[in-house]
Symmetry: C2
């Protein structure tokens, strides 16, 4: 089976929806936040720990796995789920974004992309067909079409070329994608140009993908501009299919995305922040290495019920971070991922009760960054 998606309830005053996404690896309540497991591991977490945190879908990166340990090895292992011991759902990106942001680009044409690995400089060529081969080998539940993501700011001509190329590549991806248990999502590009976004979305929707991502956002543009793009892009996408805002994970942005009709989010932010000692609390982000926490024998967040907050003090956490102990990354990641899971649970509860705008105000009145 491929995915099934159902909208359970629509918000009256906003475009937000409560939904249910069924994949070959389980049921996912939406809106959902997907933690990132770049190299076949959500950093500092065992799969068992992720399950305890109620994570049921993660994102993994095709670019990294293609380079190391190689998608053919992962296929030999029985696919990514089996290789990394993860029984939940997996969405893989196409590798496009990383090739453009991490790889050393050699040549990009309508055909595909020649680039050098950021690890050892080795030469590679990835085109839509290769991106499908890689993701089919990984065996993720959801694969993404190969796209060209424009940076910000950049001129209209370049954005238009990239958006048109992304559309052509989406067609080629669809033609070669052939994996009954994997669903292929298309990605809308078009930068912050309203007419380009709308045209790109409409043409992509005509290709009839089982789900759609909004790409090319959270790449440096102002937040308000991102929300504006969502305002006119999301309505072009079909109501009955899941919508995924790529690379967005800040709590405020997730709330704004939900209100504009987005169902799925991913970002390295909660896990990367955790390793750097930037921890989410109900009153905002704190930097736990700050000297003021040296003797603070209270929990990180007295309102939080995660393992970290139930068992340790700020002073202990600060000591672990200052000593660069591995446990700092473990406890910080547990806390930040629990925070995200609670946020999404509360968002879904608010949608159930049709009070998402009220919840947003409540949350933001306390969460001061």
């Amino acid at each position: 089976m491929s995915i099934k998606f159902e909208v359970l309830k629509k918000s009256k005053k906003t475009k937000a929806r409560l939904g249910k996404l069924l994949t070959p690896h389980g049921v996912i309540d939406t809106p959902v936040f997907m933690p990132v497991g770049t190299k076949a591991t959500v950093k500092a977490m065992t799969p068992g720990e992720l399950e305890k945190l109620k994570v049921n879908i993660i994102l993994s990166n095709s670019y990294h796995l293609y380079l190391k340990p190689g998608h053919t090895l992962i296929a030999k292992a029985g696919g990514l789920h089996k290789f990394m011991g993860w029984n939940g759902s997996i969405l893989t990106d196409s590798g496009g974004f990383q090739i453009f942001s991490l790889g050393k680009l050699n040549k990009i044409s309508d055909e595909g992309v020649f680039f050098n690995s950021h690890i050892d400089g080795s030469k590679h060529f990835v085109d839509p067909e290769k991106a499908m081969e890689i993701q089919m080998a990984l065996g993720s539940d959801i694969a993404m079409a190969f796209d060209e993501c424009s940076p910000y700011p950049v001129g209209r001509y370049q954005v238009e070329t990239a958006a048109q190329r992304t559309l052509q590549w989406a067609k080629r991806c669809k033609e070669v994608h052939n994996s009954p248990k994997q669903s292929l999502f298309g990605i809308v590009q078009g930068g912050a140009y309203k007419d380009l976004r709308i045209e790109n979305a409409r043409k992509l929707v005509a290709l009839d993908f089982p789900g759609y991502a909004i790409g090319g956002l959270s790449v440096g543009e102002p937040k308000l501009l991102m929300y504006e793009v969502l305002d006119y892009t999301v309505p072009c996408l079909p109501q009955e299919k899941p919508r995924y805002l790529m690379g967005v994970g800040a709590p405020q942005s997730i709330l704004e995305g939900v209100i504009r009709g987005v169902d799925m989010f991913d970002c390295v932010l909660p896990t990367r922040n955790a390793r750097n000692g930037s921890l989410f609390t109900s009153s905002g982000k704190i930097s736990i290495t700050n000297t003021k926490y040296k003797d603070d024998l209270t929990p990180l967040d007295s309102e939080c019920h995660c393992y970290t907050c139930k068992n340790f003090t700020k002073a202990y956490l600060r000591h672990l971070y200052m000593s660069k102990e591995i446990l700092s990354s473990i406890l910080g990641t547990i806390h930040n991922l629990h925070f995200m899971a609670e946020l999404m649970k509360n968002i879904r509860l608010a949608l159930q009760e049709d009070r998402i705008l009220e919840y947003k105000e409540e949350f933001l009145s306390k969460f001061l960054v």
Copy 2:
């Protein structure tokens, strides 16, 4: 209450014993291996993970905790157990060994030791009284007397001076130690000089400590010499009290120590090895980063029932180590600590069945390093 120790069974052909050690934080079956939690954390492990691994006592280092975050903060937090969220037993060392091996020594006299911190060069003075103050503040279940550990090789005069000083310091420790819930162990020194060891042990035993450690071993001397020292030192210690061989953790050495009548062991080896990719298996130590494991889709040890071996392959583990993922340290440590727990469980079972020599042969015939 302080500790209680009971010898449950004695081996007929060897000096080995099966025992039970009761501390204010629980019951410990002996012989026992204590993982090291240097800076108030067993590296890469949550306390919850340690419990799952059936660890019930850990060692923590006074020297490190005195420097950072400071024993006064830990006392304010309610002691080390509470500070680090660990409900099992804790043994703290005296700091002596680390002052001599890590600190920059300024002056050592009968009075105490002036040294500079290895972290920031700051000046410190620790004497037996200070070592007791630190450990009483930490509130460990078992504290160690402040000792001078001689390096190897070194001349007789230096070893003799250090052993005599250790004895004087042991007296001073005993005089000021005043903590009803903490038991203070003495440490036998004397290097590899039989007469010095025996004299030192006898005089220390006369001071009547609730337990005794054999110090100054595993500091570079040949293994056979260490076993020889145990041969003549352990018989000087009282039968009814626990005996602890400091800094020893190699499986072979633990077996040899058990046979010579040792009840307790500690070492960073299993946890440090784990972080470096050196993993224990029933057929010996392997280096998981070796290229030959690149495509190896079998478990690390097919005989092992730990979380790591039940869920992951050598190829996946190698990928994690090569990518320097935090999960490599977590999974490696889970495995190596499980291996140690199994080894100790099997040793105790063999003692119960009075077949410790047979078990040693069985184990060593397979465990090729």
